[in-house]
Symmetry: C2
Subunit: 699 residues, 2 copies
């Protein structure tokens, strides 16, 4: 990967003298950016372009070549790769479009391309991309207009057009890039490679990305987790609501779209989700300062009440809190500020504040141990001197290690002050609420960075049973496994299920009942009878052996009377389960991230209130606990109005066992444990009804 960003020599294959061609723009960008290595234009029809000697083909380039940028038409790409392969060129950026994105024929061309390059051990970025920029090595191997300012933010994007827009937009912003990568079709180098590479890149402190999808969800999550512990990874993901319409047979399937999978995957890997492009860069500017927050307590210093309240509102709506100053801080403020100033957070230094008043307030709150981050607000009032206040902010910033954000609200009157502060990496936001959002992201990252990777402990389970039952079902074409069979499957993974056995005589019904313990429930066991209670083939609350015998007879008789043609296996005798709190555990399989586990309270909470949480399996105890506590109705599990809490340990264990099972058996594509009945205290949980859908066996 290094050869992409710090090559010693670069060739432009398809360089052009025609100013309207990409092959010209690219070469010009390379030269203009001040790249210090060798640049070789390649074009059989030219002798010289932009003052550089032009070679007929890559093989005519003297010595080693580190990086090739390819802009020839798609039909010529494969032979270019052969030339490069012969020269053992390690890296190529393929700008050329007309591959996978253009249809089946292009997709075939892309496969052929990939086969060739992997044969040569050559890594490629693209095809169908804008190119790459490395500001440190002064490499602008893109056909974008203009280049990026130098900085410590890396940006990668699946959309080349977005790259051009962002590059152009960034000209007017206080934002600098280390690397700028247009990924194109991601045929070889993808987000996973890039996350890992950028995670280890000393010149990159913040990683920004725009994604439309990922190729391998599990690898992506792993790479993201490792990188996001080291530096902030902020990603905007589009297409988040489009999936909705997917038809599905289970509750989980209905509620679990690709948006839920992405949201869970991002949260589990510590990726900060940007809800908009605005967020992406707002977050980046504050992350670029490299400061981490010890906690989420914000101090606000302002010279105007209104914007101070707006900031406090934004803080209260966020995961942050308004800091409570120590007595010492309040005393310092009281002594140094005028009587009409507000001494508690937000600190209002009043409209006529000069830089010294700001300085005093900022120094005091920045030193306060109860303050984790600072937001300074300024409105350009009659006597306000923004430049001098900016210096006070810079001084306070230099004195501590805490993250700062600034909102100098206004236009021309505050512009120079904002420029000056940006020299120290002090991020300014047009409006205070955006500053608060950005500080919230810093807090989230600082929390993530502390997380250790969870080890997922394995339960001792009986995989062989499940394997056999699943493959039997699949072999016989039964893709929907329900009821008794599905309960046996989860039993093999340690779920408690109602005790149950099929009796073929009244005596047997009595002896099974004796064993289960009374009361029991009995119902006809028949593949042909669906509406069992309608025909009197269900009896509940059977209190003793005698009545078990009677019930057996009645159920058999009723069934034979009403459904004379039904095949009857016998009568199923079941343990009666007392009422507890019903929850649902579900699983669906996301095309990108695999097994997506859903949790929610049973009945209307899932169906009407959509009160559910999601995680990508496998998960450990910490994530499981977080998942359980995430639903709004969690207080019902902990007990309201003096109820005893349900057995949360049993619930956690159930989720963990389910996670293990669907990780072990990828052929399970959908699954509902609905309800899982939870009992109070330490009384455990029982899976009452289980449905499993398996994938069709590919022949």
């Amino acid at each position: 990967m290094d050869k992409f960003f710090s090559p010693e020599s670069v060739a432009v294959i398809g360089a052009s003298r025609n100013e309207t061609k990409v092959g010209y723009g690219l070469l010009k960008n390379l030269i203009d950016a001040g790249f210090e290595g060798a640049i070789y234009p390649v074009n059989p029809k030219a002798e010289e372009i932009l003052g550089l000697e032009c070679r007929p083909s890559a093989s005519d380039i003297p010595g080693e070549l580190d990086l090739a940028i390819i802009t020839v038409p798609p039909g010529a790409v494969l032979s270019v790769i052969d030339d490069l392969g012969a020269k053992k060129v390690p890296a190529a950026v393929i700008i050329t479009a007309g591959f996978k994105e253009s249809g089946p024929e292009g997709a075939r061309l892309e496969s052929a391309l990939l086969e060739k390059t992997s044969g040569y051990g050559m890594r490629i970025i693209g095809p169908n991309c804008l190119g790459i920029i490395d500001t440190h090595s002064r490499l602008n191997a893109s056909f974008a207009a203009g280049t990026a300012r130098e900085g410590n933010i890396a940006f990668f994007s699946q959309s080349g057009a977005l790259c051009t827009a962002i590059l152009d937009w960034s000209q007017n912003q206080h934002i600098g890039f280390s690397k700028f990568v247009s990924l194109g079709n991601k045929s070889d180098v993808d987000d996973v490679d890039l996350l890992t590479f950028l995670g280890n890149d000393d010149r990159t402190d913040v990683i920004l990305g725009y994604l439309e999808g990922v190729r391998d969800g599990a690898r992506f999550m792993e790479a993201a987790f490792e990188t996001a512990k080291k530096k902030p990874v902020v990603i905007a993901k589009s297409g988040s609501t489009a999936a909705g319409a997917r038809a599905a047979s289970s509750h989980t399937g209905t509620l679990a779209g690709s948006e839920e999978a992405f949201r869970a995957a991002f949260a589990q890997s510590g990726i900060i989700r940007a809800e908009s492009i605005q967020d992406l860069f707002d977050f980046a500017t504050v992350f670029a300062s490299k400061r981490r927050a010890g906690g989420g307590r914000v101090a606000v210093v302002t010279n105007a009440g209104g914007p101070g309240i707006l900031a406090a509102d934004a803080v209260e709506k966020s995961a942050l809190t308004m800091a409570d100053f120590t007595k010492e801080t309040v005393a310092v403020l009281r002594k140094g500020l005028p009587e009409t100033a507000a001494l508690y957070n937000p600190v209002d230094v009043i409209g006529d504040a000069d830089a010294d008043r700001y300085r005093l307030a900022l120094r005091a709150v920045a030193a306060d141990p109860n303050v984790d981050m600072l937001l300074t607000i300024l409105t350009p009032q009659a006597v306000t001197k923004p430049d001098e206040v900016a210096q006070a902010v810079r001084d306070a910033y230099a004195g501590v290690e805490k993250p700062f954000a600034v909102s100098f609200m206004g236009g021309p009157r505050v512009a120079a002050a904002i420029d000056a502060m940006s020299e120290d990496g002090l991020p300014d936001f047009e409006f205070p609420d955006r500053a608060v959002r950005a500080l919230e992201a810093v807090h989230a990252f600082s929390q993530n960075a502390k997380r250790e990777k969870e080890t997922v402990e394995r339960f001792h389970t009986d995989e062989a049973v499940v394997k056999r039952m699943l493959s039997e079902a699949a072999a016989s074409g039964r893709l929907e496994i329900s009821d008794a069979e599905a309960r046996k499957i989860v039993s093999a993974y340690g779920f408690r299920t109602p005790k149950s056995s099929v009796a073929t005589s009244g005596d047997e019904a009595a002896s099974i009942s004796d064993e289960i313990g009374y009361p029991v429930a009995m119902k006809i066991a028949s593949p042909d009878i669906l509406h069992k209670s309608d025909i009197g083939a269900v009896k509940v609350d059977i209190p003793d052996a005698k009545r078990a015998r009677t019930a057996f007879r009645e159920i058999i008789n009723n069934s034979k009377d009403r459904m004379p043609d039904a095949h009857i296996w016998g009568v199923s005798v079941q343990e009666m389960i007392e009422r507890g709190r019903e929850v649902i555990l579900g699983v669906s399989r996301d095309p990108q991230f695999g097994p997506l586990i859903m949790f929610g309270l049973g009945g209307v909470y899932v169906e009407v209130m959509k009160d559910v949480s999601f995680r990508i399996a496998p998960i450990g105890s910490r994530e499981t606990d977080a998942m359980i506590r995430e639903i709004r109705s969690f207080p019902l599990l902990r007990g309201v109005r003096g109820e005893k809490p349900v057995d949360l340990d049993a619930l956690r264990e159930s989720v963990l066992r389910l996670s293990q099972m669907v990780t072990d058996f990828p052929e399970i594509v959908e699954m509902d444990v609905n309800p899982l009945m939870l009992f109070p205290g330490k009384e455990g949980a029982v899976a009452l009804d289980v449905r499993i859908t398996v994938a069709e066996v590919k022949s």
Copy 2:
């Protein structure tokens, strides 16, 4: 009010030669803005300021004076008012601070001021404000640095500092103002006056405001409703989360903060709530075009897939929908666009699109009857010519009456194009999702503008009963009215309550039971026995007269045994109410908006899920229906899993009767009808338990 904004003569009382003084800045602003009427500096210590003759006092000004701007110290303001009053000056803007905002002494001064000005029939803006600007009459009567660009947006703010920030900020934006008003302490002219005035102002097409609170909620809502039907009213309200901590005795009290009251009041009056200052101006720029939307169906035309998906995501998350083009539109697009273009919404005209391709696509979708609004996205790719595309957008815009928003993403390469489009009032947004938010606001306004004021019909009720019971309770110091008494109160307003009567003998218990109909419930009637069931003083499901007699005896005996000192009125015999769906109706009284009605489903839905909706009373049927449908759990009332729906007519009527009651009786400060039991079909509703808290009688 006209005299404030279109005066023929203006005096600056307290004009100064000292450049650091407000009295200098103000006069200079007046002169610099090019005001064409007479300007009179007033200052006894100067003969001339900034080339204008200075008068010793207002009385020395020749002829009539329309407007005075006062910047003298607070102690001198009253005598200035006397001078102005003598001259019959109709309007004054009081810049001077040191009034209500500075403490009790200032508050007294403000009262004295107000008494004087109302005596003279003089309207005042302020005190403690930045001043006012009217770009049309070229009046800059403020001490802000610089002035506002001319336009059709009016802005008023309770925070002067925010005014200065916005004025300065707007210098770099495509935004123009008609009027700019700093309201200060709102001692006389307030938001209500301003909303009404601006509603009728021909030069104002959009009204923006920043508020921290309102003085008279009911008048505010009325003025806002009338104005918001005519033109968009967008208000940012701060302090939205601060209220939380209020202690309250009822469910409603706990859940109903001032934020909920504001949210309800804004929605009911058709005010568009801006969640941030960014929103305020994003919405304003699209509203400034004065176009209304026939519906919420958006067409997106883009030259890049990624930003198109981002826009579609934003649309799906909003109240808008992506338009479904007609066959004709798709045919036109198919014919005119390249094969790789996306013909369905978002229309992707592909990265190499020229202006003609945009023109064709824009014209086609703009003419489509299934399209209500358009968003055009451009990224500056290699061959993109933003200026030419801008012209295509302007042409399409001129051809239809639909609202447009534009997101030309980038910096220098798109700046000229954005400038050009802004000449036609075409609003550009840095990022597509912000454009979508703004279009959503246009849709909301267009819907509001269609609403007629609801007439609230009165039910025939027995106010006299309620009046008597409430005043008896208040007189005897019982501020919490519960149980039987409260049920009688709601009965007088037409609520059905369980039939109930107190029996003093077994025979009486039997005859009351006969009358009510069996089964009945009986419980001890005593002011001293709280935990009735604990001592065996409650019996339910009593099936006949004989057992009613027995129950009477047992209840009396148990009570006398266990609570020998309790005062016993008898035994209350009650109708047994069958189970239905429990909902809660509640009322709390907001200090600014008065009676705030809450609705939610009973039990955990309110307590744990906080699934409630709010309205300010009085409300009519339309708002009531909206309120009922707003809760997430509404499907439970309509019936899930084949249940019959509850009697929604009875629910609506209950809310309307409650609204009438709490409007009639402002002394009711908190109230819960919990539960109101709703029955299926047309079987009505019964108020099972009612609690009312009345205000302390002021002596």
